[in-house]
C-alpha cells in the first residue's frame, strides 16, 4: 500500500468521521429496536429525511437569512457605537477608567435577562432582537478598541515621532493599524455573543429565524424536525464563523 493512502487511513480526521458514523449507527439501531424511545431521540435517518419537509413547511433557508440579517444589523450597530465609544474611552483616560470596569462587569452579567425590558417596549419585533444582539456585541468591541489603542508599542510611536509625523498621521498610519488585531479580537468575541443572544431570544419569544423554528418543532413533538432544525443551527454557526475567519484573514494578510 502506498504511503499516502496509509496516511489518510490513519488520519485523525477519518477516525473522527468514523466515530461519528459509528455513533449514528448505534443510535439508529437503538431507536429502531426501541431501546431508546422514538419520541425522545429521533432516528438519524428520520432526522436526515426531515430536512426537505423543514424547508418546505418552515422555510429553513428564509429563517437562516433572517437570523443572519439580524446578526448583521446588530453587529453593524455594535461597530457603529462600540468603536467610537472605545476611541472616546482611549482619548479620555478618566472616561475610560470610569466605564471600562463597568462594561467588563456588564459583559460578565446575564444581559440576556434584559429582554423583557425591550419586549415590553417594542413587543416581539426585530427591534427587540437587534437591540438584544447589540448589547453583548458592542461591549467587547469598545473595550478591545480602548485596549488596542492603549497597547500600541511605544517604540512604534517613537518611530513616528522621529519621522516628524503629524498627529493625524500618527493616528491613521500608526496607532490604528497597530490596534487593528486587538480590535478584531473584540469584534470576534462580540459577533459570537451577538449570534448567541439573537438565537436565544428568537427561541425564547418564538419570533424571528432559526430559534423560532426549533421552538416550534419542539412544541409539535416532532422530534425528527426538532433534531433536524438543531443540526441546521449548528451548521449555520459553523458556516458563520468560517466566513468570519475568512474575512478576518483577508483583512489581515499576516
Amino acid at each position: 500500500m502506498n504511503r499516502k493512502v496509509k496516511k489518510i487511513l490513519t488520519s485523525p480526521t477519518l477516525a473522527g468521521l468514523a466515530a461519528l458514523a459509528l455513533f449514528a449507527g448505534v443510535l439508529e439501531i437503538a431507536v429502531a429496536t426501541d431501546v431508546i424511545p422514538q419520541l425522545i431521540v429521533a432516528r438519524p435517518s428520520d432526522t436526515f429525511m426531515a430536512f426537505p419537509e423543514l424547508q418546505k413547511e418552515m422555510h429553513l433557508f428564509g429563517a437562516f437569512w433572517e437570523t443572519l440579517g439580524m446578526c448583521a444589523a446588530a453587529t453593524g450597530l455594535a461597530l457603529l457605537i462600540g468603536i467610537p465609544f472605545g476611541y472616546l474611552m482611549y482619548r479620555d483616560d478618566l472616561i475610560g477608567r470610569a466605564y471600562e470596569g463597568w462594561l467588563a462587569a456588564a459583559f460578565a452579567a446575564p444581559t440576556v435577562l434584559l429582554y423583557p425590558l425591550f419586549l415590553v417596549m417594542f413587543g416581539r419585533s426585530h427591534m427587540t432582537l437587534i437591540l438584544m444582539g447589540f448589547i453583548p456585541g458592542a461591549i467587547p468591541i469598545a473595550i478591545q478598541c480602548r485596549q488596542g489603542l492603549l497597547g500600541v508599542s511605544p517604540t512604534l510611536l517613537n518611530v513616528g515621532r522621529s519621522f516628524n509625523v503629524t498627529e493625524r498621521e500618527m493616528f491613521w498610519k500608526i496607532q490604528l493599524p497597530a490596534a487593528v488585531p486587538t480590535i478584531f479580537t473584540g469584534i470576534r468575541i462580540g459577533v459570537m455573543y451577538t449570534l448567541v443572544n439573537i438565537v436565544a431570544i428568537e427561541y425564547l419569544i418564538d419570533f424571528g429565524g432559526l430559534g423560532r423554528i426549533v421552538s416550534e418543532m419542539y412544541f409539535r413533538f416532532d422530534s425528527p424536525g426538532t433534531y433536524a432544525s438543531i443540526l441546521a443551527v449548528v451548521a449555520v454557526s459553523v458556516l458563520f464563523y468560517w466566513c468570519f475567519g475568512r474575512v478576518e484573514r483577508w483583512l489581515r494578510p499576516v
Binding site: 461519528l20 470610569a98 426538532t226
Partner: protein
C-alpha cells in the same frame, strides 16, 4: 512636539473631575432619563405601565429581598448550578487533559467541539427537555453543557502552552509520570483552568436562567417569567437588578480569588476580566 497617545489624553485639562464624578453623573443622568420615560408612560403617551418609576422598583427590590419565596427560587437555581457546573467542568477538565496529552485524540474531536462550541447552546434545550424532562434535571444538564465548552477549551490550551523547557527540565530530573503531572503539569495549568472555570461558571448561570425562563416550575428564571406573565413589571425589574447585583458580586469575588492565587507568579486577572478567555 507631537502629542502622542501615551500622554495625549485631555484629562490633564480638568484635574478636578475624577472617575467617581463621571460614574455618579452617569447614574444620575440614567435615573433622570428613566424617570422621564416613566412620566411619559404614566401620561399614557407611550409604553403605558411598562416603565415603573424608580421608587416603585426600589420598593419592589426591598419587598423581594424580604420575600421567602425569593430564597426558595434562589435555592433551586443555585442547586441546579452547583450540580450542573460540577459535572460539566469535571468532564471538561478530563477531556481537556486527554486532548492536550494525545494529539491524535485532539485532532479527532476538535472540529466537532469547535462546531458545537460556536453554536448557541440554548438551541440544544429541546433535546435536553426530551431527554431529562422539564424539571430541574434538564436545567442541571443545561448548566453542565454550558460550563463544558469554556473549560474544555482553556484546559486544552493550557496543556498545549506548557513551556516545553519545563517538561524537559522534568525529564532531566527523571521524574516519574505521576511526578510530572503533580510537579510540572498541574502547577503550570492552574491559571488557564481557573480562567476557564470562571467563565464556565458565569455562562452556566446564564444558561440555567434562560432554560428556566423557557420551561420550568421553579428557579429565578421561572420567577422572572412568572412576573412577566402577571405583568408585574416593577417586581420583574427588581428581580433582574438583584440577579445582576449577585452576578457582579460573584465576579468581584472570583477576581479577588484569582488575583490571590496569581500573586506569587506575578500575573493579574483583573485586566480584561472574562473577555479574552472566551475565544
Amino acid at each position: 512636539m507631537a502629542q502622542t497617545g501615551v500622554i495625549g489624553t485631555v484629562s490633564g485639562l480638568r484635574p478636578r473631575i475624577t472617575v467617581n464624578t463621571i460614574r455618579i453623573t452617569t447614574i444620575v443622568v440614567l435615573l433622570v432619563l428613566w424617570e422621564v420615560l416613566a412620566a411619559v408612560g404614566r401620561s399614557g403617551l407611550l409604553y403605558k405601565d411598562v416603565v415603573p418609576s424608580s421608587i416603585q422598583i426600589g420598593l419592589a427590590i426591598i419587598h423581594e429581598i424580604f420575600d421567602p419565596a425569593f430564597y426558595h427560587h434562589l435555592g433551586i437555581t443555585l442547586a441546579e448550578h452547583v450540580v450542573g457546573f460540577t459535572i460539566g467542568s469535571t468532564i471538561a477538565v478530563t477531556v481537556g487533559i486527554a486532548m492536550g496529552a494525545n494529539p491524535f485524540f485532539r485532532k479527532m474531536i476538535e472540529p466537532y467541539l469547535n462546531g458545537i462550541g460556536s453554536t448557541p447552546k440554548i438551541i440544544f434545550l429541546p433535546i435536553l427537555f426530551l431527554l431529562f424532562g422539564t424539571g430541574i434535571e434538564s436545567k442541571m444538564a443545561k448548566g453542565a453543557l454550558s460550563a463544558f465548552f469554556p473549560v474544555v477549551f482553556s484546559t486544552t490550551l493550557g496543556m498545549m502552552l506548557i513551556s516545553p523547557v519545563l517538561l524537559r527540565v522534568g525529564q532531566t530530573f527523571s521524574l516519574t509520570r505521576r511526578q510530572m503531572v503533580s510537579k510540572i503539569y498541574m502547577p503550570s495549568m492552574v491559571n488557564p483552568i481557573i480562567t476557564g472555570l470562571r467563565l464556565g461558571m458565569a455562562i452556566a448561570v446564564i444558561g440555567i436562567l434562560v432554560a428556566e425562563i423557557k420551561f420550568s416550575n421553579g428557579g429565578l428564571g421561572y420567577r422572572i417569567a412568572e412576573y412577566y406573565d402577571q405583568f408585574a413589571i416593577a417586581s420583574m425589574y427588581a428581580l433582574i437588578i438583584i440577579i445582576f447585583a449577585l452576578a457582579a458580586a460573584a465576579n468581584v469575588a472570583m477576581t479577588v480569588l484569582q488575583d490571590r492565587l496569581n500573586i506569587k507568579q506575578g500575573g493579574s486577572a483583573t485586566r480584561n476580566a472574562g473577555l479574552g478567555a472566551s475565544t
